[in-house]
């Protein structure tokens, strides 16, 4: 079958007539003679066109949103990565701030005291209640040796003794806390303008913290008297581990006093609770 049953030229009259009519309308509209009619028609269909255009916009919007899904997914992934990176940066910044704070504290201690310090994180607490020790993240490689004093500082307390290095590994050390039963240190009590010697022993396993014993009764102790290390081993020049502990490292204050024969003893309140310390300094050397 052919496209048309009759000759196209026979029916071409209608086409020509329509072209002429279209041209006529074109000329009339161009000359402005159809202006009023056209304006009325346009005002009539305008509301419908507006409504349909809104529908069209929403349809286009939906199709555009659908086409943007892969792009949005990639953007979300990028933002998630950036968020993760920023969180890591924030953690790093916090760590740097903390380290900065600790270094400031160390600097302040070193300014107040003639000590050379090495800062170390408290890596682990003793896993059982039999001993009162902690592990710090500094060892032989960092210059830590057995017998060195370990100090801490919390809040407004002075830098005070929390323990003594017991065992040393390449990169970590075990610190025997002063509250442990086996910790015994020579100590000095400052009572007004007088100084008394004694021994400080840990009492944790006995239900207390520190006990000051073997103090002469010549001068009565009082609550609030300051107790510091005596550094007797260092002063006597003996080559013993405890020789690394200098004198006048604060330990605590007297809480209560009791007499025992020719001596008097006292319960001590340490400046620092060794259990609460998360960062400590090893006293590497001193200028005394």
């Amino acid at each position: 079958m052919r496209l048309q049953r009759q000759s196209p030229y026979r029916s071409f009259t209608l086409v020509v007539a329509l072209i002429v009519l279209a041209l006529l309308l074109l000329l009339l509209d161009q000359s402005g003679r159809l202006g009023s009619v056209r304006a009325q028609v346009e005002s009539f269909i305008s509301p419908a066109l507006t409504g349909l255009t809104r529908v069209g916009s929403s349809v286009t919007g939906v199709s555009q949103e659908l086409s943007e899904v892969p792009q949005l997914r990639a953007q979300v992934k990028q933002l998630q990565d950036e968020n993760s990176r920023l969180k890591n940066d924030m953690i790093a910044v916090q760590a740097v701030q903390q380290e900065n704070e600790r270094l400031r504290t160390q600097l302040q201690i070193q300014k107040e005291q003639p000590w050379k310090l090495l800062g170390a994180e408290v890596a682990a607490l003793t896993p059982d209640s039999g001993r009162h020790i902690v592990h710090i993240a500094a060892g032989k490689q960092q210059g830590v040796q057995p017998g060195m004093a370990v100090i801490g500082r919390e809040g407004s307390s002075p830098a005070a003794l929390i323990g003594v290095v017991d065992e040393v590994g390449p990169h970590s050390s075990t610190v025997l806390l002063i509250t442990d039963f086996s910790s015994v240190l020579s100590a000095r009590v400052y009572h007004q303008d007088q100084v008394l010697d004694g021994v400080v022993q840990g009492q944790w396993q006995r239900g207390s913290r520190l006990q000051l014993t073997q103090v002469s009764r010549s001068v009565p102790l009082a609550e609030g008297d300051v107790v510091m290390t005596a550094g007797l081993t260092a002063a006597s020049g003996l080559d013993l581990p405890r020789a690394a502990i200098p004198r006048n490292v604060p330990i605590g204050t007297i809480d209560s006093v009791s007499t025992d024969g020719y001596n008097q003893s006292a319960s001590l309140r340490p400046y620092i609770d060794p259990d609460q310390v998360s960062y400590a300094w090893v006293l590497i050397s001193h200028d005394e």
Partner: protein, 179 residues
């Protein structure tokens, strides 16, 4: 007899009005609702008149082109007759050169679509140059004509097949494809 003739004229008149309204509806949808991927709107009316010219012949397609073109001019705000002339040109260029081809030939809509779209945009560019402002031909071809040609040629084949099936059914024919 004297009663029948005016009645036929009335019927034809009503038919023409209905056709014009339907085409006006198509144009409204085309100019408002239809999504525009990459800012190119598929010209439904152009496809319809080209397929109509290929399936039913020039006179029928010319009526569609005239009504639809005027509707486009009203909805688009262009000078009345501009789109009508462009669509009439598309109908002539798509229908006349392919008169001797079989309607069952699948190449018909593609070649017709090509000729029709080029004629449509050619006349539109010419009228715009004459009535509004000179149109740079190369730019117009690259930005408007070619993308519209592509977007017209894609659906013109299925549309042609549907229209051919519909017309064949009306005439009681059995369509047969030629390759």
């Amino acid at each position: 007899m004297g009663v029948d003739k005016p009645r036929r004229i009335e019927e034809r008149f009503v038919r023409e009005i209905i056709l014009a309204l339907v085409l006006f509806g198509v144009v409204m949808v085309q100019t408002t609702v239809l999504p525009r991927p990459l800012e190119i709107a598929p010209n439904i009316l152009l496809m319809l008149v080209i397929c109509r010219a290929l399936v039913s012949g020039l006179p029928n397609a010319a009526r569609w082109a005239f009504y639809g073109g005027l509707s486009l001019d009203i909805c688009a705000g262009s000078t009345l007759g501009t789109h009508a002339l462009a669509l009439l040109a598309a109908v002539i260029c798509a229908g006349l050169p392919l008169t001797r081809l079989h309607r069952e030939n699948w190449l018909l809509p593609l070649v017709g679509g090509l000729f029709g779209t080029l004629a449509y945009h050619g006349v539109l560019a010419l009228l715009t140059t004459l009535l509004v402002a000179p149109v740079p031909i190369e730019t117009y071809a690259v930005i408007v004509a070619v993308p519209n040609l592509v977007i017209t040629l894609i659906p013109v084949l299925p549309l042609f097949l549907v229209m051919r099936w519909f017309v064949s059914r009306q005439r009681g024919e059995v369509p047969m494809d030629l390759y």
